[in-house]
């Protein structure tokens, strides 16, 4: 006899089920279409190219829960059970559908025994374990990221639990009543059945089965119908959102055609792209974005989660209140201010921690910057501190209002190739110094260290000196796209005039903008951060560091080097190349999980007016490693952390803050054959 089972055992009037299913589908479809209509109101975005790449990423994040497991081992593991339980059980139901309704008899034989019985049983049981773990997490452990509780959250868990338990009751009852010879292949159902048989007897069991069957069916249909109307929507939108993720370089903000765009920046929901609107419905409210958010941690009025949920609420409410009047650009924004407060937008350092943590790849930072664009370019409203920065960038091409430093100060006594002095002389790489590197006293010594290392290694490099202008990164991050494009175009013209092909820089913000954003404006160069460049020089033996009094060193990952450009290894290898160095990491808060120093997104030029200081929070983490040296790779991090470690360290135990280039320069000095300047 071929192993299988009867599908509608003990059930009459099966048509009722089909009728109810039709109703379920109708309710589901209505809800889904409402969402679809809402998404379609967004502007076009191209997110369906490169399907293989998209599919691969989708599988990595769903089948393997790659991101989630990287930081949240326990929660990630349980959600993985959750996910696979849902997938396998849905697959099981689909098998029944194919077998019974399509008449393709696959639910039999070994497949029936191994998959439909054993596998489903195991995953069903694991699903129950995961659900119990979720209930414990939400109502016993209560991490703040899950706050505040919503009645839906508990109901969903209870609903799923009930569906699973009733499923096992049904299975057990059927095994008992039909004396199923393959009952042992469904171990959980089998045990449940024998227990129930003892409790209810045969007739009782038959009644129980009948009642439970309809109850179970009602719950499942209710669950399906509820999906579009609850946060269960993420069952569909989360994987879709991962598939539709941004495949462009992470560090590139969307380019704005200023000449052709009527309203600059985003002040109304329909100015978002459809993908931005889709994002809002992918949120599972897990709150992981909050955990690594430097603004949230320092009690600023920004939670990436609530940013998305507030937008979601507004999007759904606005759609419900149809029809909307045609937008009038002079009208005050119904979004920026009423829904998302200005202080919220001005709390973001654009560090990308939220986007890196979000398991479903929601894109928070571009939304924030695009709303800032509205504030800055349409309303000319921004924090007072930025007024001087913008004026200085406009008039002088650097963000340091009132500075009397010259870009030529740092190299006055060094023999370096300034392009305007010797335009004909050839060079291999342009050293892009950056505003901080040229004008900030502390960063100047970093620049000098880089230049001296390059000289020691015999690299033919050149600089622009006074012809450099800000890359435009701060302008773009604060939302002044117009100013960014002006600055970028001037720099691109300068690069083209000197035939620049390869650019080396010690500022990750410059690095990111030159590498990922200049191509948007036609500037294509090979751009390298000094950590990678110097690491190569060490690896190839052109720089030979000797032991130096470095002590224990901890590297602080700059957001725009790490999260935005995935350079995590080079700076660490560089530090490890110093013979007697001993390297520490901040547990759980390192590399992609590193906490922002608080200097990005314009914050290097703004005072933190609310909450605690972001730089102190990060400094506390770094100091707690007991490191003697905090190594950085970014001028903004340098300023922030130098200040921060001084404040949070116990008296007399303040670690030094050094750039990786300074560390290496010290180590090279120990090698008489390579003393810089020789």
């Amino acid at each position: 006899m071929t192993p299988t089972r009867e599908v509608f055992f003990n059930i009459r009037h099966v048509w009722v089920m089909y009728a109810l299913f039709a109703v379920t589908l109708a309710i589901f479809s209505y809800g889904f279409c409402r969402h679809w209509q809402r998404w379609s109101r967004g502007l076009p975005a191209s997110r369906t190219d490169r399907p293989w790449q998209r599919l691969q990423g989708l599988l990595r994040q769903t089948a393997a829960h790659d991101r989630l497991l990287k930081r949240y081992r326990a929660a990630g593991f349980f959600h993985l059970l959750f996910f696979w339980g849902m997938v396998i059980l849905t697959a099981g139901t689909t098998v029944v559908f194919i077998h019974n309704d399509l008449g393709i008899h696959i639910m039999q034989g070994a497949f029936y025994l191994y998959f439909q019985s054993l596998t489903l049983n195991i995953f069903g049981a694991l699903f129950i374990v995961a659900l119990l773990a979720a209930l414990v997490q939400r109502y016993v452990a209560r991490p703040s990221r899950l706050k505040p509780d919503h009645w839906q959250d508990g109901l969903i868990l209870i609903l799923l639990l009930t569906i699973l338990l009733t499923g096992f009751i049904l299975q057990g009852a059927r095994i008992q009543l039909t004396r199923d010879p393959w009952g042992a292949w469904s171990p959980v159902g089998n045990v449940a059945g024998s227990l129930l048989a003892r409790l209810f007897g045969v007739d009782g069991l038959r009644q129980l089965h009948l009642f439970t069957w309809w109850f179970h069916m009602a719950l499942v249909f209710g669950f399906i119908a509820w999906i579009p109307y609850s946060k269960l929507m993420h069952l569909l939108t989360a994987p879709a959102n991962i598939y539709l993720r941004d495949l462009e370089p992470r560090g590139a903000l969307p380019l704005l055609d200023i000449e052709k765009t009527e309203a600059l920046g985003i002040s109304r929901l329909e100015q978002f792209s459809w993908k931005d609107l889709f994002d809002l419905d992918a949120c599972t409210e897990c709150g992981r974005c909050e955990v690594n958010c430097p603004a949230n941690i320092s009690n600023k009025p920004l939670s990436p989660k609530w940013l998305i949920l507030d937008l979601q609420k507004a999007s759904r409410a606005e759609h419900a209140a149809a029809p909307t009047p045609p937008p009038n650009p002079e009208e005050p924004s119904p979004l920026v201010g009423p829904v998302i407060r200005e202080e919220t937008l001005w709390s973001c350092t654009t560090c990308r921690a939220c986007m890196e943590q979000c398991p479903v790849m929601i894109e928070q930072v571009p939304k924030i910057v695009q709303m800032r664009r509205h504030l800055v370019m349409e309303r000319a409203e921004f924090p007072d501190d930025l007024q001087g920065v913008i004026r200085s960038l406009e008039a002088r091409g650097h963000p340091y209002p009132g500075s009397s430093a010259s870009r030529s100060d740092w190299h006055k006594d060094l023999d370096v190739h300034v392009l305007s002095d010797k335009p004909g002389q050839s060079f291999d790489v342009l050293l892009w110094v950056g505003c901080a590197g040229a004008m900030n006293d502390r960063s100047k010594s970093v620049t000098r260290a880089v230049a001296q290392l390059l000289q020691a290694a015999g690299v033919r490099f050149a600089i622009l000196s006074r012809e450099e202008k800000c890359t435009g990164d701060p302008a773009r991050r604060i939302g002044h796209e117009f100013l960014f494009q002006q600055l970028a175009q001037e720099n691109i013209a300068t690069f083209d005039r000197y035939g620049v092909k390869k650019i080396l820089t010690s500022c990750p913000h410059c690095f990111n903008t030159l590498r990922n954003e200049y191509p948007q404006l036609g500037g294509n160069y090979q751009v390298i951060h000094h950590s990678e460049f110097l690491q190569e020089l060490v690896a190839s033996g052109r720089l030979r560091p000797e032991a130096t009094a470095l002590g224990k060193v901890v590297f602080h990952d700059p957001c725009y080097l790490g999260r935005y450009n995935q350079v995590y290894g080079a700076p660490r290898q560089l530090l490890d190349s110093v013979p007697n160095s001993q390297r520490a990491e901040v547990p759980n808060w390192s590399a992609r999980n590193a906490l922002c120093c608080g200097g990005g997104g314009g914050f290097s030029f703004m005072e933190e007016k609310t909450g605690t200081r972001m730089s102190h929070n990060r400094s506390r983490q770094l100091v707690s490693t007991g490191a003697d040296t905090v190594a950085v790779g970014c001028p903004f991090c340098m300023t922030m952390l130098e200040d921060g470690v001084k404040t949070v360290s116990p008296e007399g135990q303040t670690p030094r803050v050094l750039d990786i280039a300074e560390v290496l320069a010290q180590a090279i000095m120990q090698n008489p054959a390579q003393e810089p300047g020789r």
């Binding site: 501190d385 001087g388 340091y400 209002p401 009132g402 500075s403 009397s404 430093a405 900030n440 006293d441 502390r442 960063s443 290097s604 030029f605 703004m606 005072e607 200081r613 300023t639 130098e642 200040d643 001084k646 404040t647």
Partner: protein, 326 residues
């Protein structure tokens, strides 16, 4: 032959401003081989006149019935004094009022006008060499005025008051106030709370404290110094972060940018973001126990010592200095 006239606009008793203006006029008159007349706009008493003579005025003109400052009345009076002494070199103080009326007086007298000068030398043939800082103090311009009337306002504190000849006297003339119906009127004059000193951005002297001060209470030492020097108290970000002083006093990249003549940094190491805020300071003086502190790289004068030891002595030395010079 030049006739030199120094116009004074007293704001009460004879002050250093008047002493500076007379001193500048006296030495110029001596170089030109002329005598110095002084014109006083506004009410003044006999002791004021005695001070004028003591500092070198040879004659003095007062205006009868000229009340509190009003630009048109004062301008007209200045013109009448100039005419009465046939002055062709007229000095004004670079105060708000002086700078307000000097150009118009010069215009009506057909004079060349140069304001905010730091150097003034005459020669026996009547030529004047005038030095004036230009380009935000990055350069000095030296101008020669050969003939014709000249109106000059000297920058405050650019002239050290000369020796006093107590008991010196001279001729005192009085002219009536010109009759006119003024078109402007000062409705109210408010003196800003001197306890907190001038606004940091405007302050000529700033005493600034940092992390090295250790606590909130220690800022009273800076306030004492600030009162003594007529300056204001500022702070580094570290000090503001600790809540020792309000954030409005913060000087630095994200705080106030200041351009005082004297910036006295006490217990400030000179974090880069702080240095950005004081880039405009003319003279930076640092007091810090750490000789390697970056603040010494931008300071003109430095004292390597504990501030606790130094500040009380500094207060004493300054008080003595003030007593000597007032």
């Amino acid at each position: 032959m030049r006739n030199v006239l120094a116009i004074l606009i007293p704001a009460g008793a004879f002050s250093r401003t008047e002493a500076e203006t007379i001193t500048a006029g006296k030495s110029l008159a001596a170089q030109l081989g002329a005598d110095l007349s002084v014109g006083i706009l506004g009410p003044s008493d006999d002791s004021f006149a005695r001070e004028c003579f003591a500092f070198g005025a040879k004659s003095l003109t007062r205006v009868e019935g000229l009340a509190a400052y009003q630009s048109e009345a004062y301008s007209a009076a200045a013109q009448q004094i100039a005419a009465s002494v046939a002055a062709d070199v007229i000095l004004f103080p670079s105060t708000t009022y002086g700078l307000e009326i000097a150009p118009g007086v010069g215009y009506r007298l057909g004079a060349a006008v140069i304001l905010d000068c730091v150097g003034l030398i005459g020669d026996s043939s009547g030529n004047l060499t005038i030095t004036k800082p230009v380009y935000g103090g990055k350069a000095n311009s030296e101008l020669i005025a050969r003939q014709g009337p000249v109106v000059i306002a000297m920058r405050m504190r650019s002239v050290a008051p000369g020796e006093k000849q107590d008991g010196a006297t001279g001729e005192i003339n009085t002219i009536p106030a010109p009759a006119l119906s003024p078109r402007t009127q000062i409705l109210e004059h408010t003196t800003e709370d001197t306890g907190s000193g001038p606004k940091l951005e405007d302050a000529r002297v700033i005493i600034s404290g940092g992390r090295g001060l250790g606590n909130k209470e220690n800022f009273v030492h800076l306030e004492e110094l600030a009162r003594l020097l007529g300056g204001s108290v500022g702070a580094s970000r570290a000090a503001c972060d600790q809540g020792w002083v309000p954030a409005t006093l913060q000087i630095g990249q994200t705080g106030k940018k200041v351009a005082p003549d004297l910036y006295l940094a006490v217990g400030i190491s000179g974090a880069s973001q702080h240095l950005v805020g004081i880039a405009g300071a003319r003279h930076i003086v640092a007091i810090n126990k750490d000789a390697k502190a970056p603040i010494f790289q931008v300071a003109a004068l430095g004292v390597v010592d504990e501030w606790q030891a130094l500040l009380p002595k500094l207060v004493v030395a300054l008080t003595e200095h003030k007593a000597r010079n007032s």
